[in-house]
Structures are given as C-alpha cells and as structure tokens.
C-alpha cells in the first residue's frame, strides 16, 4: 500500500509537473448525471470507482452496500483451513469515498423501479438514477435441497460460499472434526460462482487433514460430469498428493439433507453421511435482479448486451458479475466481474458525456487455485468483443493454465488479490 506521506508527495509532484499539460486542464465540471451502484463486490465497487475515474469526477456515483466492509470470496477457502485470517481478506470501503468521491450508503435495496429509475432503500427513502449498475452477486437456491434452509439456520450445514461468518464457522467445524472423520463437499451443476473454487477448497481441506488429522477423508460429490475447471491439473494433484485422503465422485446431485445426522440424499446414488458437511446448493442471480424482472434466462440469470452490459430488459440498468448469463467460455469470476465493471463504466461514461463508445472492448481473466498453504496454479484467458457475434469470445491462441502448482504462483495469487482489491477499493 502507498503510505499517506508517499501519496501526498506523489500528488504534489504530479500536479506541479503535469500542470499546463492538456490533461490537467480537462477535469470536467459536474455533469449532473447520477449513477447508482447496487452491490459492493468485485463488480460493483470497481464500477463505482471507475465511473468516477473515467468521467474525471463529472458523474456522481452512489454505492449502496449493506455490509460495512468488503470480504473477499476469493481466498476465503484459505480462511476455512486456517491459512489466512478473516481480516486478511477484509478491506475497507473508505477510500472509495475519500479518494474518489463516491457517496457510500450502507443499506439494503428493497426494490428497483426500472420505469421510474428509482431504487428504494430498506430505511425507506428512494434514490433516483440516470444509470443503475446492479451487481448483487449470487443467491443460494436453498429450496433445491430439502432440509438445507433449516440446516443452515441451525449452523449445522454450511455452504460457506460467501465469505465471512460462515467461513469461520466451517473452520471451527473442521478443527473440531474427529481424526478419521469424513469432510463432505457437494458441488452443484454449473454454472455457479467461481468454477475451480470447490476443487480448490477440497484440495486445501485434504492438505489440512493430511497434516493434522491423517486418518480422515475428503469426499467430493460433484453434480457435474467431471471437474468443471482445471480438471486434469486437480486430478493430477489429487492422485500424486492426496490419493488416500481425497475421493472424487461425479454425477452426484444432492437433493435433500438431514441436518441432524448430516446425511445427504442424492438423485440416484445411496445416501452419504458426513462428519462435516459443506453443502453447496445451486445458485442464481441475486434476489434483487430476480425481483426486478431482469433474470430473464431460466428465471436464474440476467441477459445483457455485452457491449455495455445493459440489461436486455431495462436499457438503463447495467448488470455485472455473477448475476449475468456469461458469454460462451466466460466463467463467473471476481477477475471478470472487475473487468466487466470497467467495460460498463467506460460505456456509461461515454453515453452520459456524449463520447464514442469502445466498439471492441477487451476482458482478461485469471483464476488462481491454491492446493496447499503455499502452492497455487492458474487458468488465464483473454476475451475480445465481436460485433458480429454481439458477444465476447476468447482470443484464439491466448490463455492457458499452469503446468503444475508452484510456490511462485502462490505468491502471484496473493499479489493478484492485493492488486485487484486496491483496483476496486483504493
């Protein structure tokens, strides 16, 4: 992080030396336009900051987020196994306000009126927008697994898919599990948030158990046909390092759970009983997007125009991140949410300030997965917008994966996290 002293020095020097250059004269007067951002995750926080940056502060931005701080879902499995503390993945929203002039409202949006261009807050009053950025993330489809809502409410069965108190609660369950116990992870059918995340978590738990409770097992029960991301790499790691501790089974679709005995019922196979049960149900676009009628694909995901991420149902609402139906080969990742937010922010600024829109925006993606306390591996991709396809597509020849996990990539993964958090929030 840049120290305050260093920052002030940089600002002083920067302003003096650039004074008189075309850029310095061009800080824009307020346009009177207002962008409201709902959701302060990888997508929403980035959009809030970048509308301010790209508009040179000419556009007012209000960020509405109920949580007092950002807690990163990425790296939260490292909290579950105790490699990181929750504070290591928690960041303040203060710089958005202080450094970028974003108005932050800590509240929950209860209703969106896309006709009148207003959002209503839980505390009552309404805020009008010229453009709305909606980034509500995912919601768990608790009803898809009978007994899960009850199990979660009782703290017995934890999805721990969003980071925070459930990450810590699952960490405690892992610590308390008997040596010889079975830690069960169930994975829903794709698409879901962060394809490699459940396999990363399984690897990390296996690594933990190998060290501290070596008679135990991790049982990975996947509704999918196969590992959905970095498949050959994960399987190689599991075979080489966790052969006696991690077992993977495909086509296991969980349909019910008994929260008291921690027994899971599946669509086809026999019941499985767990000592710790990390049950991840299917997910869909955040409830706000569904309520506003924007989840127009299978009532689960929001369809957008990929040139500017505006909803195909409401032109002045831009939906970002995990709530959208992604372009082909485009997973739901924090990195992509951050990139989509900048594409949308540039398009919104171009539109509101009457500038040409980028006809061919680019996106990159990098997903890191840890396999133990030190080593990580990655998948990377570059996407370009195709006017003909009206969608993003992977740039041919680009992208790829690690040959194997390494400590060097582990250090890159942490550097990625710190840089992307700063890019969103600082």
């Amino acid at each position: 992080m840049i120290t305050r002293r260093g920052m002030l020095h940089a600002l002083g020097a920067g302003c003096f030396t650039t004074l008189g250059l075309p850029g310095c004269a061009s800080l824009r007067p307020p346009s009177g336009a207002k962008v409201v951002v709902v959701g302060g995750g990888y997508a929403g926080a980035t959009a809030a900051k970048y509308v301010r940056i790209f508009s040179e502060h000419a556009i007012d931005v209000i960020l509405i987020e109920p949580n007092p701080q950002f807690v990163s879902p990425a790296l939260s499995s490292r909290v579950i196994v105790g490699d990181l503390r929750l504070s290591d993945i928690t960041c303040s929203y203060q710089d958005l306000q202080r450094r970028h002039g974003v108005t932050r409202v800590q509240d929950r949006v209860t209703q969106i009126d896309t006709e009148r261009h207003t959002v209503t807050l839980a505390h009552g009053h309404s805020i009008r927008y010229d453009r709305l950025v909606l980034a509500p993330g995912i919601d768990l489809m608790l009803d898809a697994v009978e007994g899960l809502a009850e199990g979660q409410a009782e703290g017995r069965v934890l999805p721990a898919w969003s980071a925070g108190s459930q990450s810590l609660a699952l960490h405690r369950q892992l610590l308390q599990m008997r040596n010889g116990g079975v830690f069960v992870i169930t994975i829903p059918e794709a698409p879901y948030r962060c394809p490699p995340a459940p396999y990363e978590r399984a690897s990390l738990v296996a690594s933990f158990l190998q060290r501290y409770k070596p008679a135990s097992k991790v049982l990975v029960l996947d509704a999918n046909e196969d590992v959905t991301a970095l498949g050959s790499l994960f399987k190689q790691v599991w075979a080489e390092r966790f052969a006696n501790i991690l077992e993977y089974r495909n086509h296991y679709n969980a349909v019910a759970v008994d929260p008291h005995s921690l027994t899971v019922r599946f669509e086809f196979q026999d019941d499985v009983q767990a000592d710790v049960l990390n049950l991840m149900p299917p997910v869909r676009a955040g409830a706000l997007a569904v309520q506003a009628g924007l989840a127009n694909i299978n009532a689960r995901w929001c369809e957008v125009d990929f040139l500017n991420f505006s909803s195909t149902r409401a032109r002045h609402v831009h939906v970002l991140g995990d709530s959208i139906q992604g372009a082909p080969m485009m997973p739901k990742s924090g990195h992509l949410a951050n990139g989509q937010a900048k594409v949308a922010a540039a398009a919104i600024v171009a539109d509101l300030l009457d500038q040409p829109i980028d006809p061919q925006p680019m996106l990159t993606n990098t997903c890191f997965s840890f396999v133990n306390a030190r080593e990580a591996m990655h998948a990377a991709m570059v996407y370009e917008y195709s006017g003909a396809a009206k969608s993003f597509r992977p740039v041919s020849g680009a992208g790829g994966a690690s040959p194997r996990p390494s400590a060097l990539e582990g250090s890159y993964a942490m550097a990625w996290a710190h840089n992307i958090w700063a890019d969103m929030l600082s």
Partner: protein
C-alpha cells in the same frame, strides 16, 4: 484528491476522445498490475506505470514469442493483444507516473 484524476487524465487526453478508449483498454491490466499501472507496494506482480514505451513493447513481444520463459501466465495473456493495442498501452503506461 482531485489531483489523482488529473495525473491520470494527462495521458488520456493527449488525443481527445481516444482518451477514454485507451484508458478503458489499459484498465484491463489493472486487476493484476494496479489502477493506472500502480501495483501495490511489495507486489510480486510489477507496476507498469512509468515503463518506457520501448521497454513495454520489448517485454510484451518477448512474452508473446515465449522467448521469456517466466512468467508463463503473462505470456498467455500477452498473446491476446495485437500490435496496435500494445502500442497504445505502451504510450499510456509511459505517461503514467511511477508513485515513489
């Protein structure tokens, strides 16, 4: 705090409206390399702000050709950008001041 935007704007407005386009393109690097190329202190991923145009071009070319073996990840990303994009990025990052 106004000055942050001013510094960023210097490069962006060298040629009028292209400013927003190149800033938006450069923002695709920011997730890993920091906003406007300013990586956080101590990051093992290097900052791009202040790199000379020639150096940026040379490194991207080497990454695309695979002549620089590490890091593989950036080689995979570099292959996604064409010459014109690399040139625009080289100019943009050269104009960003490296924060001391």
């Amino acid at each position: 705090m106004l000055c942050v935007a001013l510094i960023g704007a210097a490069a962006a407005h060298a040629d009028g409206t292209a400013g927003l386009l190149v800033r938006s393109l450069a923002a695709s690097c920011a997730a890993c390399h920091g906003t406007e190329g300013h990586a956080v202190r101590g990051s093992t991923i290097p900052p791009l702000a202040g790199l000379s145009r020639a150096e940026f071009r040379r490194q991207m070319q080497a990454l695309r050709e695979g002549t620089r073996t590490a890091p593989r990840l950036m080689g995979q990303i570099a292959l996604g950008f064409n010459d014109a994009q690399i040139e625009a990025l080289a100019l943009y990052f050269e104009q960003q001041r490296l924060t001391p």
